[in-house]
């Protein structure tokens, strides 16, 4: 992955006078830990995997401390490294079977009016992300859950804006279809 070498900013990741590299790193880690952990959790759907990914991302940040210069660019860099780490983790864990995870889907369809608990609803919505292809999932998570603009998502994923818009659109339609199938509704 190409490292970001961005324009200098007032508050960069460069070591500041009187501040040790470790202290500087810890400051950055505390500042960005929510961004990394939440994104990883949304992409992997597992707490343990999200922790593993976060650890990998922050170790990469530590090794590249001083190379990623501006904090404005740092969040994009962290998003990109997090998305890639999640992809790598998924590849290492293949074959993944979201269909198996979605086991209760058929039984729910058999009785669409069955009362669903809130926990089950949340589980279905979380599952709906896992059944998406990697790129569509990443685009949806970054745009709709992390609130990045389409332009920022394109930068993070290294794609064009047109591609990202197409991925986001397909992902939204798929998630809607998945959830409605589960709840037995038809659009």
């Amino acid at each position: 992955m190409a490292l970001l070498v961005m324009a200098t900013a007032a508050e960069g990741t460069r070591e500041r006078p009187g501040v040790s590299a470790t202290a500087e790193f810890e400051r950055l880690m505390r500042r960005y830990e929510r961004l990394v952990l939440a994104t990883a959790l949304r992409l992997t759907g597992s707490n343990e995997d999200a922790r593993d990914v976060s650890q990998e991302v922050f170790l990469k940040l530590y090794r590249n401390l001083g190379k990623v210069e501006a904090e404005a660019a740092l969040s994009s860099w962290l998003y990109r490294v997090t998305v890639n780490a999640c992809h790598d983790l998924r590849r290492r864990r293949r074959p993944e079977s979201p269909v198996e995870d979605a086991g209760p889907l058929e039984s729910a369809e058999a009785d669409p009016q069955q009362a669903l608990s809130e926990a089950e609803r949340r589980r279905v919505l979380q599952l709906s992300l896992r059944m998406l292809p990697e790129k569509e999932r990443a685009a949806l998570v970054l745009r709709d859950l992390e609130g990045l603009s389409t332009e920022e998502v394109a930068r993070v994923l290294g794609s064009s804006e047109a591609t990202v818009r197409s991925q986001i659109s397909k992902a939204r339609v798929k998630v809607k279809g998945f959830v409605e199938r589960y709840f037995g509704r038809r659009s």
Binding site: T22, E26, M29, R30, E33, R34, L37, A38, L41, R42, N47, A50, R51, S54, Q55, F58, L59, Y62, R121, R122, L125, Q126, S128, L129, R143, D144, L145, T150, R165, S166, I168, S169, K170, R172, V173, V175, K176, V179, E180, R185, S187
Partner: protein, 161 residues
């Protein structure tokens, strides 16, 4: 244009990704098409639920755990580097010592040559000692020719061994 062609644009519109003329066109279509209106409201509802479900309240314990693991890993890496540095330092010091020792030895003055001693060995009659026969050797004949002072007299000695 049928409603399937509007699907992608409606999905973008539902997430606030269309502006200006594109957004206005979708709005017009939705106003005229009950099916797409349902599709659009379904998308908005799903997106809302998705955001609500994923509005994570991460516990401080999660962050603490990640921080602890990262710092432990960094410390472990440092220990390995320190050990490597120590081992390499010892190795380099040993090499330097060997180098110094070799250089010192090369530069040291050579010892004086040993004194030459001339020995005079008194003349003794020549004796010929035959080698003892080897067990593996076959028996053979040996001929010794002895020349006397008189060129006309030659003594031959024949033996077996």
């Amino acid at each position: 244009m049928n409603c399937m062609d509007w699907e992608e644009r409606i999905a973008l519109y539902a997430g606030g990704d269309l502006e200006g003329a594109e957004a206005a066109a979708v709005e017009r279509h939705i106003a005229d098409c009950p099916g797409c209106q349902v599709f659009w409201s379904g998308l908005r509802e799903t997106l809302g639920q998705l955001r609500e479900t994923h509005s994570l309240e991460l516990s401080p314990a999660d962050f603490t755990a990640v921080r602890a693991r990262v710092m432990a890993e960094i410390e472990r890496g440092r220990r390995v580097w320190r050990r490597l540095a120590w081992v390499s330092g010892v190795g380099i010091a040993a090499l330097l010592l060997v180098g110094v020792a070799v250089r010192t030895k090369l530069q040291a003055p050579l010892p004086p040559p040993p004194a030459m001693v001339r020995l005079s060995i008194p003349q003794a009659p020549l004796t010929v000692r035959e080698r003892l026969p080897q067990k593996t050797m076959v028996r053979a004949t040996m001929l010794v020719k002895l020349q006397t002072a008189d060129p006309n007299i030659v003594i031959y000695w024949i033996g077996e061994y």
